[in-house]
Symmetry: C2
Subunit: 158 residues, 2 copies
DNA sequence: TGTGAAAAATGGGGCGC
DNA sequence: GCGCCCCATTTTTCACA
């Protein structure tokens, strides 16, 4: 890989298609066996094993996760919280909020606000408490969009 | 489980802690072996196997996914798109937008706008094209927050 | 890279408690 | 609901092409 960036050098376009097929399959079923993957792409089990290990090492596959039902876990309420720092000097909201496990995602964004958080809580009361905690911990103002329903979530990028 | 909803009946609070530990472990490593899970919670492999199967059947574990690096897949640009229907009569934006694979999530929300989308694209040009497509396909106005950096994403709810 | 086979580990189910 | 035994399947590694 040090001598070329061209995908054509080491197997051609078909190799990329195979890798994409493997990733697409694993993105939808993270416990798919190598046997199943091998049948799907038409290669031997060990060839597939080798390819998947390389995808992991190269960081294309970053990990494997079980997905949990937040509602059944007692966290039926999802919201997007956009925050704006009050004090423009010390803008380290992500670090100040990292300990709040209700926060599932934290993105810095360009737009009216500085950060967007995705949070999951047990109830409106819990959301109110969380918002108060966010405001005081990170010295920010908040704007909240409560999720009413989710049409789709976690659709794989490929 | 049909005779009682009380967790205390079938093993007490410890059973819940074990299940939570299993879910927390699998949420972080979806390919953890039953042997590894058994060691972690101090039960036999078959007991763990039994518990995980029940968690799957009850829908607490909804599936297993490999997580992919969108940037390495050629989708380095993430954005949150808030949309408002122009025509208040036919508000079926999620269905009208489902075919756009760049849309990773679609939530109906209470707030200024009606829906929030999370999208991943290859470039600013691709984002512009996607926004045009969203507006014309679903008859909506859009407000976009481009993600500059992501502090954390996909933190498990437990 | 890919293939095939062999060794090590795991998955999956039944039985007694 | 848990622990133990058994066996099919899978994972993982190897030499060879």
């Amino acid at each position: 890989m040090s001598s070329s960036n061209s995908p054509a050098e080491a197997g051609g376009a078909a190799a990329i298609d195979v890798d994409r097929a493997l990733m697409a399959t694993l993105a939808r079923d993270g416990r798919a066996s190598f046997t199943e993957l091998a049948e799907r792409v038409g290669l031997s089990v060990s060839a597939v094993h080798q390819r998947v290990r390389r995808l992991e090492q190269r960081g294309l596959i970053t990990g494997y996760r079980a997905t949990l039902d937040a509602t059944q876990l007692g966290l039926p309420l999802t919201a997007f919280v956009s925050i704006t720092p009050t004090d423009s000097q010390t803008d380290d909201a992500p670090a100040l909020l990292a300990h709040l496990s209700a926060i599932e995602e934290c993105h810095a964004v360009a737009g009216v606000e500085s950060y967007i958080l995705k949070v999951r809580v047990a109830s409106p009361d819990a959301l109110e408490a969380l918002l108060k905690e966010i405001r005081s911990a990170a010295n920010v103002t908040t704007r909240t969009a409560v999720v009413l329903s989710t049409s789709y979530e976690d659709r794989p990028p490929i």
